[in-house]
Symmetry: C2
Subunit: 282 residues, 2 copies
Amino acid sequence: MTQIIRTAAELRDKVAGWKRAGALVGVVPTMGALHDGHLSLARAARAQSDRVIVTVFVNPMQFNNPDDLAKYPRDEERDLALLDAEGVDVMFAPGPDEVYPEGFASKVSVAGVSEPMEGQFRPGHFDGVATVVTKLFGMTQAGRAFFGEKDWQQLQVVRRLARDLNIPVKIIGCPTIREADGLAMSSRNVRLTPDERRIAPVLYAQMVQAARTIADGAPVADALGQARREILKAGFSSIDYLDLRDAETLQPLDALTDRPARLLAAAMLGDVRLIDNIAVPL
Amino acid sequence: MTQIIRTAAELRDKVAGWKRAGALVGVVPTMGALHDGHLSLARAARAQSDRVIVTVFVNPMQFNNPDDLAKYPRDEERDLALLDAEGVDVMFAPGPDEVYPEGFASKVSVAGVSEPMEGQFRPGHFDGVATVVTKLFGMTQAGRAFFGEKDWQQLQVVRRLARDLNIPVKIIGCPTIREADGLAMSSRNVRLTPDERRIAPVLYAQMVQAARTIADGAPVADALGQARREILKAGFSSIDYLDLRDAETLQPLDALTDRPARLLAAAMLGDVRLIDNIAVPL
């Protein structure tokens, strides 16, 4: 049975016992409302670690928009049942006061990779991510941590901070899991209306189209312009960004180079903000 | 023999071996130019840990003043000999490029306790301290860390960040070591001229006098005003601050309460900036 732990102190004791027995601990940080994307991370952790902790914490510090925080889906009982079926050892589900007790005053920030895209459209978001992830690494003492490529920019921020702060954890990125029609799995997808849900896969489809066109040698600006028009025509209300960037540094690219490139997008569909990213070439 | 280690990778291997053998690791972070204050920390670490690492790194990120960084005394051979005599296992002395390699982009900051006093007079100083200390905790994986009470505000910043970021290290503050005439030991003391060296103990003497007067019931403003006048009359050129504060929160106090209080000061003597602090009552 997956054990629920709610305090850092209890988690520390649990982990200390595992470590004494020589176990390698893997952690999957999540905000709950688990879907197959999260479960694929839990499976990767299970395969590559001796003990697996999935953290379930809707981190207020990374929400720049209070409405988004209030509407973020939560279903702890269902999450627990799903993790149990995956053989996860511990679901660490602390309350906000356990993570940010009175007097809390510290912040971890990462310059560079955190600045464009999500950093521009969600001010403070990556400070919240970097801070809570640093805390979760401290609390879990994990040797391996599993993050979805769905949040590609977040993955680069986490890689950077783990390296910069000499945290002894290996960061493992896992492929985005998609619905049959291509829509990237996201806890926010449940907030789409049936009409919006039908429109949503256009984002990915147009990104794939643009990636193919760019890989075939078309000018990047032309390919992205065409994709933007199609995405808006399909019913998205706005596009925060649709950028070709260096996959690691996230510097903008106006042409492919010999380094890995990534196409990243964020767009509004009704009142739901969807993000996605893919490698170029695919 | 104390072993010199210069890279985080080599230190990690060394520590991993110790940990496998069940050793408790203690760390003493220093900027070198060691004096009896540092050595008292090494002794405390020796007494309370199985293995002791003393780090020697003049951290550019915590110097707001490039001139102060350039003039900071360095004598690695002497440091090594002193640590060897104390039975220290490892002197970790990385270069700046090892601590801040190309691409480094992260920062740890602590609000609240870092803001007054040194935070006001040395902008960015505590971001540099918090960041390098977080890195040293990551690199050394120490279970105990020893800091001098001489840098009282720094000690509170470090306590706060270790707690806030869930770093599994116990922070141990050790009493300030003083010269026979009361001057707090500091690596910067070697920069005092003979005349300045004669004047320097007035800072501590006047702090003690003020602490006694306050403990006896005198108004805090009167006692501190008197001390300020005497310190300047003795030959100090300016006083950055001389404050009575809550010992833990560092909130200013205009009277003693039932919580521990601390008198903290920074003052310029020639081109050397001296700091000191004492408990009130003594």
